[in-house]
Amino acid sequence: MPTTRSWISRATWTTLTAAGLVTAGLTGYLSAAAGATHTGSPAPAESTTQAASTTSTDSGDRGPSGFHQSAPVTSAGTNTGAPAASTRGS
């Protein structure tokens, strides 16, 4: 069984997750749609907005212009049976 949520029930955990009260882990951001959107409300006076925030949680090796690098996928051959999943356009 999971260790980090063994102290709460599955239903409770899911509820907390959906409410945005469980973090997504590596990123440190809350990861659900909690909180209201106040469309049209004025920004706080002390707010200093910035274009295209430079805050980043990226790490690891990067290529010449920003993409992280990894080894390519490998061929599975032709006699491998059904794949676990398929990537497809959507």
Partner: protein, 311 residues
């Protein structure tokens, strides 16, 4: 002596966010919990970022931006989605742009795809060049977003890819074993690998499997100009917009598939490649990305170390 063989990975499929999704778990007992978590996350994504449900945060922002400039405090999830979309805009010099919402409406994609495909009157096709991702401003600390009048957001290129990455990490953190998360073809994996890696098919637009590859931790994504197409009074349009023209990208490629460390990067690369058309192979190589491209005439092109088929 009794030898306990590892169980086969177990798969669950479900519909959400307008597409078919699946979760594959190396430990079958963990699958029900994993699916429950995934459903909760996708419900949150839909509520935050759907362009087609009027009560979503994104729809309310877009509606407000039709009337005038918008300043709004957004939810943590939407802030994260927008931050990712802005980073992608910067990474691709605007080839993948979250502000193409108006262009999508202009080429006729103004409703759920099923409604677009079945409407009786064909829409006109009015290209609408992007206002530019760099005119969208987000303060991550306060979560204050500002949009100019007329800017409509669409997070279709990065939203579910980001959720696939997040879900794969989250499931591994809280459940045992390894997981493959497939959100409408955007695939992320995390945790234990099956022996030999995760076998993943690259499915062509006709449903045929073009090749099976193995992921050893890489994410995979595919962007297609042959799906999500509809007729307009001015020809056939599809859903991948070239922000420079505000029209559907030239369909040089039927689809592009890419492997990368994250589904966001894989989807970013495939979307940018479709937009770039003939320039895509050079761009992919320059960025160190492995990809499989399917030309309009059915020819397959492999770049950046994408594996050849082997028997």
């Amino acid at each position: 002596m009794t030898v306990v063989l590892p169980a086969e990975p177990a798969t669950a499929c479900f519909e959400a966010i307008g597409t078919t999704n699946s979760i594959v778990a190396t430990v079958p007992d963990e699958l029900p919990d994993a699916v429950e978590i995934a459903r909760a996350y996708l419900a949150a994504l839909d509520l935050a970022a759907s362009r087609f449900r009027p009560d979503s945060e994104l729809s309310r922002l877009n509606e407000a931006a039709r009337r005038g400039p918008v300043t709004a405090i957004v939810s943590p999830l939407l802030a994260r989605l927008l931050d990712t979309a802005l980073r992608v805009g910067r990474l691709t010099d605007g080839l993948v742009d979250p502000t193409v919402g108006a262009a999508l409406v202009g080429v006729g994609y103004d409703d759920d795809l099923a409604a677009v495909l079945t409407r009786e009157q064909l829409p006109a096709r009015r290209p609408y060049p992007s206002l530019g991702w760099d005119r969208l401003r987000l303060d991550l600390r306060t979560r204050v977003l500002t949009m100019p009048r007329g800017m409509l957001l669409d997070l279709g290129a990065t939203g579910k890819a980001l959720l696939a990455d997040d879900l794969a990490r989250l499931l591994t953190r809280d459940l045992s074993g390894g997981f493959l998360v497939d959100l409408g073809g955007d695939i992320a994996v995390a945790g234990d690998l099956p022996q030999g890696g995760w076998p993943v098919g690259v499915q062509g637009p006709d449903g045929r499997c073009l090749q099976v590859v193995r992921s050893h931790g890489q994410a995979l994504a595919t962007s297609s100009t042959a799906l999500r197409r509809w007729r307009t009074r001015d020809g056939v349009a599809h859903h991948i917009i070239d922000p420079r023209t505000g029209d559907s990208a030239e369909p040089v490629w039927q689809q592009v598939t890419c492997g990368a460390p994250t589904a966001v990067e894989a989807n970013t690369a495939t979307t940018a490649a479709v937009v770039l058309g003939e320039q895509a192979p050079q761009w992919l190589i320059r960025h160190g990305l492995a990809a499989l491209l399917l030309r309009a005439d059915g020819t397959l092109v492999r770049v950046g170390g994408w594996p050849q088929e082997r028997s």
